[in-house]
Symmetry: D2
Subunit: 161 residues, 4 copies
């Protein structure tokens, strides 16, 4: 059962993104696949699609946890479509199914996924995403990375659960 031994890493971010973010997500996907990790994401466009594209270009395995009722909703680079019908509540499944999370930019949906991940003690590595502070104290819960390779290395190092 080699898949189970492989590390599962989630890539989260907006379903629409800039060309730069798309390039970054694709690089993260490629790097994850090269190192044998399984990519988990929300299965749609933007950051999710770019990451899946990168992963499959290197022969990686991609899981898309979809919000809607049809597997056809998945981007073309998703190999394992999981159909939830739960709407945005599927965000929780994306992070819970991963041993570490890489957040690339992203909007409020990404913020909710970061919250769910940190609540479950799943490490979150950030590439240009949200910064958090609480009651005026800076929160250092999101581990910053400068580039795709650093993000993937940190994610794999921390994916120990």
């Amino acid at each position: 059962m080699p898949q189970k031994k492989r590390k599962f890493i989630a890539v989260i971010g907006g379903s629409q993104c800039s060309p730069e973010e798309s390039k970054l997500a694709e690089a993260v996907g490629r790097e994850l696949a090269r190192r044998g990790a399984v990519l988990v994401c929300g299965g749609l466009g933007g950051v999710m699609k770019a990451a899946c594209k990168g992963a499959t270009s290197e022969g990686g395995l991609t899981i898309g946890v979809l919000p809607g009722d049809s597997r056809r909703q998945a981007n073309p680079y998703v190999q394992i479509p999981i159909v939830t019908g739960l709407g945005y509540a599927r965000n929780i499944i994306v992070v819970k199914s991963a041993q570490a999370v890489i957040a690339i930019d992203g909007s409020y949906g990404t913020l909710s996924e970061i919250g769910h991940a940190l609540q479950d003690n799943i490490p979150v590595i950030g590439l240009g995403t949200w910064s958090l502070s609480r009651n005026g104290q800076p929160g250092d819960s999101i581990i910053p990375a400068e580039n795709a390779t650093e993000a993937v290395e940190k994610a794999l190092d921390l994916a120990t659960n």
Copy 2:
């Protein structure tokens, strides 16, 4: 059907909290009840229990959307226990069932609820809770309030959907 005409306001925050936060939550609950709003929360302890206690002390109606499998999980001030069995995914239901959200301090679960609320365009009023910034830009998505009365007034003003 008077209940439906009433505004539904969620109070979110930690299931454990300091005496000061508890006092604040109770004041929020009281103020909501005085103004005829229905209180929605996660139904457990801490901020949730204090808010329910405040609301019922003024004759208000309290809804607790519970994570577990039993109505007995609800704090004693919940009048309408909704039993989901969904774990923390019930956070989404708390915010979706409200027309505005008041966040009191809180940890990562509260952060995920803030994310879900903002994603759904549900206004979030903050009392000493998370601050957000994105890509180095301050995010002003959470509307600050100085005290319970101001938080409730802002929540009711913004609860228009």
Copy 3:
């Protein structure tokens, strides 16, 4: 907190129904309200709407656990709209939030609710609904009732959890 002391009974059935089923559901709703029970349902049309109409005509309290993202989806007789955004997964919340379930006719969605209720040891009273057998053995898990009054009496008797 009188509401919590009241018994919570779910009425489940199709979102479209015949005039006879509608009359039956309305009678069930009326009878529940007369006996002080809180009505829980899926909040939409058909059997759900008729039951809510009956309950409110007798001053009862009605909760609608909605599949979609908006409280406006509720039928006009729902007083407490719970907005889940979970699609049909909300069926589980309808039955879990009740201490007994009355099933009126209904299609596959109702069947899934019956399965979830029986799995949780929540009694199911049937008015012209599914019959079940397993491996050729008749299953007697659904308690039959002849009319609305009998169904409500059985539901309230069995609602002990």
Copy 4:
């Protein structure tokens, strides 16, 4: 992306089962793998474990959609653990992620899955499972099969969505 082209078939049934049911589930898993189908299940013991064991013995791919909060809950033959934290609500994801469902015996959880599948027009093939009738009319919604090979053939034939 060969996985996506492969058919996804769910095997549902009790988390505890008799030796005969276990043998039957293992045969179904083997047959699915031989024909290149991906096995989706609830990831736990009993029928689920036996089916995964059969599938992996033939080099098949197995997905376990878990109710709890940890990937460690999966049986040892699950290759792709999907962690939902949703409790029994995960049943819906099992059937929605499949293009056809094979039900092996099973109790009320299985019944709820059958209801969800039929509601979504996902074909259900039954091996010694529930029989349904509605309002005294036999329901023929569950397609019977005599043995594992026939069940798998019917499932693959009907898995067209």
